[in-house]
Amino acid sequence: MSTLSLYFLREWKLMFRNTSSLIQPLVFFVIIALLFPFSLPAESALLQKIGGGVIWVSAVLATLLSLESMFYTDYIDGSLEQALIHPRSVTLAMLGKVLAQWTGTGLILSCFSPLLCLTFNIPSSQIWVLFASLILGTPSLTLIGAIGAALTVTLRRGGVLIAIIILPLYIPILIFGAGTLTQAAQGLPIAGQLYALAAILALALTLAPFAIAGALRVTIE
């Protein structure tokens, strides 16, 4: 079995043995998104306008929340150190881990987003637009975020630091992601925005695993 699939399946097994790690980010995502209607004037026209942005911000925050524990348990039980000294490629191993992490957070969030769209009165023609932008955008969020998680794994209070390092890098993804829905609402073509998201994903998919492996080597010595 290749390093990538080995690590992917290992993470999957761990995730399904501890289902709370699957449910928590999703519940967090939904609660954050639903805080906005409570705190804003409840006009359906307004909610419809801001819904896409709200769902995107909630997805970013939910991803961020799930990242803190990403390498932590492996670091505590020593398996992360084993992965680093094993002759197999650390980069590929970490890519497998990150992809599994995404299926547990980003993918589930994206699949759940149409339901949230209904509560924000987003027209059904635009629901798939939001879904497509989330499917293309959330893997980049997890890949880039994992760099921050790898850097802060040895710190006791790393959560805030992950946010400070990673959130600035998330902003372009957020702009393009939420931008797709604003464009679609005005009846403009969205291909450009989706291409931009895909380009970011290609970049993150090829470069982030090296940065993650490098970050782990820096912090764990």
């Binding site: 400070i164 600035p168 902003i171 010595e221």
Partner: protein
């Protein structure tokens, strides 16, 4: 021909030795004794000339009148905000790849200076924007990406101060600055990719600068002056950091003893 090769070899050897000397904290400290004041003098003289020509000699703009003169601070600091980031990231990459101590010092000491330049660019921009655009801030691509750059600088500084072990902290901060470098081309091209309130490329435009020489000269002087300011501030900060990092080494102790004797006698 042989003479030429001999000359080339001598120059190359000298450059190599200079490079290795810069790589050692002790030698850096000696060299910076000489270089730092030179940078300071160049900064002062160039920016004074630039300020004089910019404020008194350059003609007023045909549209914006005298309020355009804030350009002589705004544009150089905006350029520097990117220049410092690239320098910092290149130094970080050099440090990570070739494990050179001094490269990390360049990275760590550049971050606060770059953050200050970015903050100044944002501040002067909004002071300029209020009379011309009628607003302090717009969410346009150039302004937003410059704000992201400011947060990146803060993130690098936060990473450095989060680790107790200095060597880990240096490497971690270097890694963050290398990762963040992807944002630099986005900022640079933002005025071309998205048309917005912020004006397009004026100086490094195709077919030469779209600006009369009388306005361009002070801008070039200010830009060079700020470049030397960066060198000056960086070297001052690096000297401080080197002394702190090497405080238990013999040469720093000797330096401190000599300084103490000089004050007592």
């Amino acid at each position: 021909m042989i003479l030429f090769i001999g000359f080339f070899n001598t120059v190359w050897d000298a450059l190599g030795r200079f490079y290795h000397r810069l790589g050692s904290p002790r030698e850096f400290y000696k060299i910076s004794n000489v270089v730092t004041p030179i940078f300071g003098i160049l900064f002062l003289s160039l920016s004074l000339v630039g300020a004089y020509y910019g404020l008194f000699v350059a003609p007023a703009d045909y549209q914006q009148g005298d309020s355009f003169r804030i350009l002589y601070v705004h544009v150089p600091v905006a350029w520097m905000s990117l220049f410092v980031y690239v320098t910092m990231a290149v130094a970080a990459a050099i440090g990570l790849i070739w494990r050179i101590k001094m490269a990390f010092v360049v990275t760590i000491c550049s971050a606060p200076i770059g953050a200050a330049f970015t903050a100044l660019a944002l501040l002067t921009g909004s002071i300029w924007g209020k009379p011309i655009w009628g607003t302090w801030w717009v969410w346009d691509a150039r302004l937003t990406s410059e704000l992201i750059l400011f947060f990146l600088y803060l993130g690098i500084m936060a990473t450095y101060y989060a680790f107790e072990e200095r060597k880990t902290a240096e490497k971690a901060a270097a890694l963050v600055s290398v990762v963040g470098v992807v944002i630099v081309p986005i900022i640079h091209y933002s005025v071309e990719w998205w048309s917005s309130l912020h004006q397009g490329v004026t100086v490094f435009a195709k077919g030469g600068p779209k600006m009369p020489a009388s306005m361009l000269f002070p801008l070039a002087m200010m830009a060079l002056g700020f470049m030397f300011y960066y060198g000056y501030a960086l070297f001052l900060s690096m000297r401080h950091t080197v002394l702190k990092n090497e405080q238990s080494s013999r040469w720093v102790k000797e330096l401190a003893q000599n300084a103490e004797q000089a004050t007592h006698s």
